[in-house]
């Protein structure tokens, strides 16, 4: 799985960090998403899919590698 983020679309809700903290973080100054792991291990795929689904700005796109 490949994770793509769009920092310009991100609204800083932090929903992704709550769902998958090992893959997503937020910049402190504006809450914009930071990708910690663009190719997360299989055991976190479900959490990453949840994060993409709850993102209120459609800023996370997943690609099956």
């Amino acid at each position: 799985m490949l994770v793509h983020i769009d920092q310009e679309k991100c609204c800083g809700a932090g929903s992704c960090v709550l769902a998958a903290p090992e893959v997503f973080d937020q910049r402190d100054e504006d809450g914009i998403v930071v990708l910690l792991d663009a190719e997360p291990p299989a055991d976190s795929h479900q959490a990453v899919r949840d994060a993409a689904a709850v993102c209120p700005a459609a800023a996370i796109r997943l690609e099956q590698a």
């Binding site: 932090g14 929903s15 402190d28 809450g31 689904a53 700005a57």
Partner: protein
Amino acid sequence: MSAPRAVAVVGAGAAGLHTAEALRRAGYDGRLTLIGAEDEPPYDRPPLSKHLLGGQWPPERLALRGPQALDELDLDLRLGVRAERLDRRERAVQLSDGGQVRCEAVVLATGVRPRRLPGAEAPTAGAHVLRTLADALALRAELQAGARLLVVGGGLLGAEAAATAVGLGAEVTWLVSTATPLAGVLGAETAALLTDLHREHGVRIRRGVATEVLRHRGRATGVRLTDGTELAADVVLMAIGSVPDTDWLAGSGVRLDDGVVCDAHCAAGPGIWAAGDAAAWPDPRTGRLRRLEQRTNATEQALCVARNLLAGPDGARQAYEPVPYLWTDQYGLRIQAFGSPGGADRFEPVDGSVAERRYAAACVRDGLVRGAVGIASARALRQLRAQVAAHAPWQGAPA
């Protein structure tokens, strides 16, 4: 009862799309109809008053899902079609194109429509609302440099539109009915800061005024206030709130009371569900019905509806207990809030300060953390979220 074999989702905004997507993600493989009154595939509304109105983003950028992702949902997608009637017993939705959709479960996600000023009930050139992509494009076309814009309404939409318009070179006057716009939403401290920001950028704010009527002669010429004052403008934006788009449900037997009345699981009757701006459900703490016109609510409520819909009547349904979140971008600053920062009796910064225009603060009422609000301090703000969710007693800022 097993999972339904046909689901209709009425409303193709964020709530409708996320409901459909969550149903598929959970393995639902029956017929799935998504009905949208607008011609565009599901798009995101928050950028309308910001990046789209400001001209930084083209309309395509607002699409919530690309064509391929939409295809993969295998939807019976009906766009440019309004739902006109719900037959509750037959579970049939009558459409404006003469069609009918029968289903076993229906999700009501038609959202809200903007209120209009007296005198502007009929479409009037120069008088705008801002809810749809078409609305935003029409307004943008009139905001040339030097255009005199009156923004009526002291909510977040009015604030964002005023900020964007002044950035485009318009002469902006913002009419608000309260002493400090947005104090009820963001809390007094943040609202005061925001008011300062608008002034610094050249927005004229008239506070404590009530707008009586739109004035027009062929096209809008301004407004009249209830005290008789007449204000002239080239363009008027009515940002005076919204009403749930539920007229089509009148007589259907679905209970309406400022929205579709749901139970704690977002069910509005057997096989009937509601999500998004138009859904009203009982707050678990107070039992009072509440409705949230917030982008994150549209997503989270949609996920809850999809889960409960598939659980069946005897399954384990989950109560909907969101932690409200909102954000607004104005003048390059992002303001974020959890819960209810308005109405707090104490404002307790845990990071930064109002003077620095960078902070995260707990908003405390009766000793309990009821909200949190922040600017440019996302981490500290997020750490307050759990306290907001729990209405935790305020223990003081961490050392």
